[in-house]
């Protein structure tokens, strides 16, 4: 017990944690150290392993290897409740409280002050009020929690967690739905708690906030630890490089010779295209046989751009043109009709129909495009499925297998096949190589190159900068839901992309003027 109060010892020590889901290695020998009284940012792109790490530490997932020590003692909690009792509390982005109960009831749920088996409402409210006063909050604790803003709900969740004698507080994207003022309230409380000796893990993709609040930073990438640094001595450029790319030296020569594409015709163009509160208006021209990469951090507006271009989201301004003719893109059906295709990032929820066979998944978009009255005969379906299973080397090569039983890489290939079968003019690929093993990864990149040699126009989103640099003819860089820069030809390299992402607002404004 005394150990935990000794400042020389780390409060929470995670050593050599590994975790696999089937063949996917979500975490590989990750270390993480949290000191008492510090605010420690845990960073990484989607799929880096942040959530998995939190869930392993809090006992939601069993771990495959490694140890967790809290205050010098090894802990291995098996449930959320046991974790809480051990002194580790987690507050998720979506507050896990009951909005229909009062603030006081939420604070003391499961441990209400009782007398003769009856809840002492008055006592509970008095204590709730006192507890929240500690956090500088003076609100009516008898009102339902749902009546209050998300920020206050967050503070309530934190107050509950801290009052349950938490020594470690994990905040998973706590600021995602807060406005500037609310963020300040939250930060003030975080600093207060840190002063009391509580160790806080802060997960966020808002780098400004990370620099404002955190003492140290740990970065994960592809399930591995990239490094642990003092925030004050870590330049922003370096941090982004840690999150996105390998060392610069490794990647500079990876770029293939630029193809002749200047003479090619415009396939689709988007002028002043955008949607309020979604993506700032942008200009985008996509030529036949050209790959345009979209680069930027998580939440920078890459997926949003892709969804607008395809028609999955309706733009509220600007004009889209296909082969020079103005078109309306109000739904995915419009996109499909104009020869667009879209492989979304979330394959399982937005891409495959798991229960249906490989064949049915492949013909789905083509059939939807042809309409109800022109069904593909079984023979045609078999023919199409066989062709693409062979062409993309989908394994196992059984068109009748339910697609949910295939590996991630093969599911991705099935989605590609679904769109290729519609003979599209433009294909939008959102993170086509995410969660795919190395072999399939290289294959998909080779495929992207082959496709655009055939005259297809491609818009590709990827967090892997070396990858984007390898296949793109042009790269659009996004930040804060706006297109901030376009790189072409020799200017495309990882360094320039990182510099564009990291540049502060003033520098961008300057560039726009020159």
């Amino acid at each position: 017990m005394e150990n935990s109060l000794d400042p020389a010892l780390p409060l929470l020590e995670v050593r050599g944690i590994s975790k696999s889901f089937g063949a996917v290695r979500a975490l590989q020998e990750v270390d993480f150290t949290l000191r008492a009284g510090e605010i420690h940012a845990l960073l990484g792109e989607n799929g880096a392993g942040k959530s998995t790490l939190i869930k392993v530490v809090t006992g939601v997932f069993p771990r495959d290897a490694g140890i967790v020590r809290l205050g010098g003692e090894e802990v291995a909690p098996r449930s959320a409740k046991a974790t809480l009792q051990a002194g580790i509390a987690t507050v998720y982005q979506e507050v896990n409280l009951l909005p229909n109960l009062s603030v006081a009831q939420n604070l003391f749920l499961d441990r209400q002050p009782m007398r003769f088996g009856i809840v002492r409402e008055g006592e509970m409210r008095r204590r709730a009020k006192a507890l929240l006063a500690d956090f500088g909050l003076d609100i009516d604790v008898a009102a339902p929690l749902g009546n209050y803003s998300v920020a206050i709900q967050h503070v309530t969740a934190i107050a509950r967690a801290v009052d349950l004698s938490a020594r470690v507080l994990i905040l998973d994207e706590p600021t995602a739905s807060l406005d500037r003022h609310e963020v300040e309230i939250l930060f003030r409380i975080m600093r207060q708690l840190a002063k009391r000796g509580i160790g806080i893990v802060f997960v966020s993709h808002f780098l400004d906030q990370v620099y404002e609040i955190s003492d140290r930073i740990t970065v994960l990438r592809n399930g591995r630890l990239v490094g642990e640094r003092e925030t004050a001595s870590l330049p922003r450029l370096e941090l982004i490089r840690m999150m996105l790319g390998r060392e610069l030296a490794e990647t500079t020569s990876a770029r293939a010779a630029t193809r002749e594409h200047q003479a090619r015709e415009v396939c689709a163009s988007f002028e002043n295209y955008g949607k309020a509160g979604y993506v700032a208006p942008f200009h985008l021209e996509l030529r036949h046989g050209e790959v345009v990469g979209l680069a930027g951090l998580l939440g920078s507006g890459r997926t949003e751009t892709a969804r607008l271009v395809f028609g999955a989201e309706r733009a509220d301004r600007g004009q889209a043109k296909v082969e020079g003719a103005p078109v309306r893109l109000h739904s995915p059906r419009d996109g499909v009709r104009h020869g667009f295709g879209y492989c979304p990032e979330e394959r399982k929820t937005d891409g495959i129909v798991a229960e249906l066979s490989v064949r049915e998944n492949i013909v789905l978009a083509l059939q939807a495009k042809r309409g109800l009255h022109r069904p593909l005969s079984r023979r045609e379906q078999d023919e199409i499925a066989r062709r693409y299973v062979k062409m993309l080397d989908i394994r196992p090569p059984d068109p009748e297998r339910p697609v949910g039983l295939l590996s991630g890489g093969n599911q991705q290939k099935v989605l590609l096949a679904r769109w290729l079968a519609t003979s599209p003019r433009l294909l939008v690929l959102d993170e086509p190589t995410r969660g795919i093993d190395v072999g399939a990864h290289a294959e998909i990149i080779r495929l992207i190159r082959d496709l655009c040699d055939d005259g297809l126009s491609l818009l590709v989103i990827s967090s892997e900068l070396d990858e984007i640099v390898t296949y793109s003819d042009r790269v659009v860089v996004l930040r804060d839901r706006a297109h901030i820069e376009e790189l072409a030809g020799e200017a495309i390299d990882v360094g320039n992309i990182l510099a564009a992402i990291a540049a502060d607002g003033a520098a961008v404004a300057l560039e726009a003027h020159t």
Partner: protein, 330 residues
Amino acid sequence: MTALLPRRGLAQILALIVILAVDRVVSPQFFDLRLQDGRLFGSLIDVLNRGTPVALLSLGMVLVIATRGIDLSVGAVMAICGAIAASLADSHGLPVVLAAALGAGLLCGLWNGFLVAVLGMQPIVATLILMVAGRGIAQLITEGRIVTFSSPDLVWLGNGSVLGLPVPVVIALGMLILTGAVVRGSALGLLIEATGGNARASELAGVGTRAMILSVYVWCGVCAALAGVIAAADIMGADANNAGLWLELDAILAVVIGGTSLFGGRFSLVLAVLGALIIQTMNTGILLSGYPPEFNLLVKAVVVLAVLLLQSPKFSGLAGIAARLRRTKA
């Protein structure tokens, strides 16, 4: 692949055979058929005839459930359409009567489909509205009375025979073939299964998921209307309080026994109808056995449990392990 195909439907066929065998034990003349006045009589024909309303309902219901929906209003829609048919039967010709009743069923389906597909209401709540209101509408049409009629055309629909088979059975068979032809002959089947399997992904693949959902509720309404007309024709009258009462539950049961998951996706028309026949075979068997009809409900529950267990992958997994253990011991 060849091993998979007969597996589908095996549980249902097995269940039907077992129940038929039990019925044979309970009532020795169960399989007897005789031809009288050019018409077949016997318990088996009776099962088919009595099973028709639920079979028709399950044809619509299975499509709705395949889109991950449910339609609780079909019993009430039966009452509405039966009431309309009965009210018009003695003053209008059969084509007018049928058009009015089926048109009403179509409108009911359109209403449900509008609530679910356009307004995005949860299917169970959306169709609950018509389930409650529909019986009221039916009572308004019959003005609270049991409306009887004697129009020979409509009576024939419930009691006549074609090629030795009762007309309702022929109609149900025709609807099964028609629905199968429309659904599997066009791309509708695939697109419905995709919509039910993953609506978001289907939408992004360009499938008009709203149109799919709307159309299955419309078809469900039409099937319910036909069931309602036949039920009215059978008793030569419309009883707004009792026509089709609780049959929505039997229809859902038939679909589930037929192996279509309430989570949507893959569906089978034939197996849903087979499910309806299984339910009716049980009902008839218990009636013939002379046991009090209260047993019906219990026996039904046990049989449903058995069929569902046979279909459950976890259960067959357990059974497989048990079999292997026995083999290793031997």
